[in-house]
Subunit: 256 residues, 2 copies
């Protein structure tokens, strides 16, 4: 989606590693209109194309694919990809149609670029799971690779949407990840009842000034179904509104 | 779907022509469960695999791809392709979910076989239009080719489902195509009002002993939207039940 930051740079570094010195790395930059809801931030989403282009060049990208919306969605476009399990809850629950747009555009981009490998960031944890399902179910000839979330020194997950935050919101935003770290600490201390963990996490997030919790979930790491007992490999995932900005983050849990 | 007949053989002949002497022709044989409705003929659909295999060999097929349902639809399969315009009416209207199954399996088969060209028969006229839309919208790297319907000497369109017909039904079945030919004759004589053509065609079909009309439509040949005035390039498409067997057929219309 462009508005590249150090998280995206980590994807380019991984892609270069996968491609080797002689392989070709393609980056796509496309603010995909079909994954935004009618009241979301499509029109104000940042599009610093020249800066993005420079970062791609710095990281040795061989091909930068930046189509227009009209090129990807011609008149009469009517074919959509729906993932109907992994994509239902979490962001899929509060952003109806979001993963339909994601699945459709990712399939198109993978076919257009003829990618043999594709790299995605774990900050969009549910997106990674949905795309893994898409690739398996539709027999796409591509290998997926996921890269860990890159964070600011204070813990805030890098996101193009962090640019929307007011200075006050920015100063409170690290408390989202701090709350996830506290949840993992509780799990490490032996707490495994998801409902209790969930309430505690929710309380911490709700205590952030200006925050409104969108969802808090403890789920199985591959099916994304809610769990009642947390085990290693489960994930705590949250979405939180800070003022007009919706931020997501997640943490992989491990017991003991 | 197997149960190969001379219509399928015409597809293989076309595929060989497209591939040239040195190219590779792949045939898929797969009775796709997901394109059958709950009360349809999935379990009794004919599966004469050895005979199909022999016909493929005769026609110089290089690779016969005949997966199991479990191979194409693994546990937890949850990703579906929906075409939401061309596939809505006609067979899509009376067989809900049919084209979802068709689109999903065709995308999978095209990706698995790495086909550069794919050949489909015009008897399944709406299927051709839906697949054309799918290939365009999802940027599939494949060229489509459509082959005219092959008919019995008495005009009946070849179909694997003709095997279901009783001798009495078989003797009446050619009247479906005869009714389509009569519609085209009326168009050639200057009749262009779709509602009148539709009523006349419906009457002819309803007069066939044992017949129940599923749909009769006069549509634009590429959008498949119903037309009020018939012009060259429009298509008359019908589905008719003869006893327990549903048959489809269509005719390309031309004025004067």
């Amino acid at each position: 989606m462009g508005a590249l930051h150090a998280g995206h740079a980590a994807l380019l570094v991984r892609a270069r590693k996968l491609a080797g010195r002689l392989g070709s790395v393609t980056a796509s930059i496309f603010v995909n209109p079909t994954q935004f809801g009618p009241n979301e931030d499509l029109s104000r989403y940042p599009r610093p194309f020249a800066k993005d282009q420079a970062l791609c060049r710095t990281h040795g990208v061989n091909l930068l694919f930046a189509p227009t919306p009209e090129a990807l969605y011609p008149d009469g476009f009517s074919t959509w990809v729906h993932e109907e399990s992994v994509g239902l809850g979490l962001c899929g629950g509060t952003r109806p149609g979001h993963f339909r747009g994601v699945c459709t555009v990712v399939l198109k981009l993978l076919l257009l670029t003829r990618a043999t490998h594709a790299v995605f960031g774990r900050k969009d944890f549910q997106q990674c799971a949905v795309i893994a399902r898409l690739v398996r179910d539709l027999n796409l000839p591509v290998k997926l690779d996921f890269v860990d979330t890159v964070r600011e020194p204070d813990g805030l997950a890098l996101s193009s949407r962090n640019a929307y935050l007011t200075p006050e919101e920015r100063s409170e935003a690290p408390r989202i990840y701090a709350a996830l770290v506290a949840a993992q600490a509780a799990v490490a201390r032996g707490e495994s009842t998801a409902s209790r963990l969930r309430r505690a996490l929710e309380r911490r997030l709700a205590a952030i000034p200006g925050a409104r919790v969108d969802y808090v979930a403890f789920v199985d790491g591959s099916t994304l179904q809610p769990v009642s007992k947390v085990t290693t490999g489960c994930v705590a995932a949250v979405a939180v509104w800070l003022g007009k900005t919706r931020l997501i983050d997640n943490i992989l849990l491990s017991v003991g």
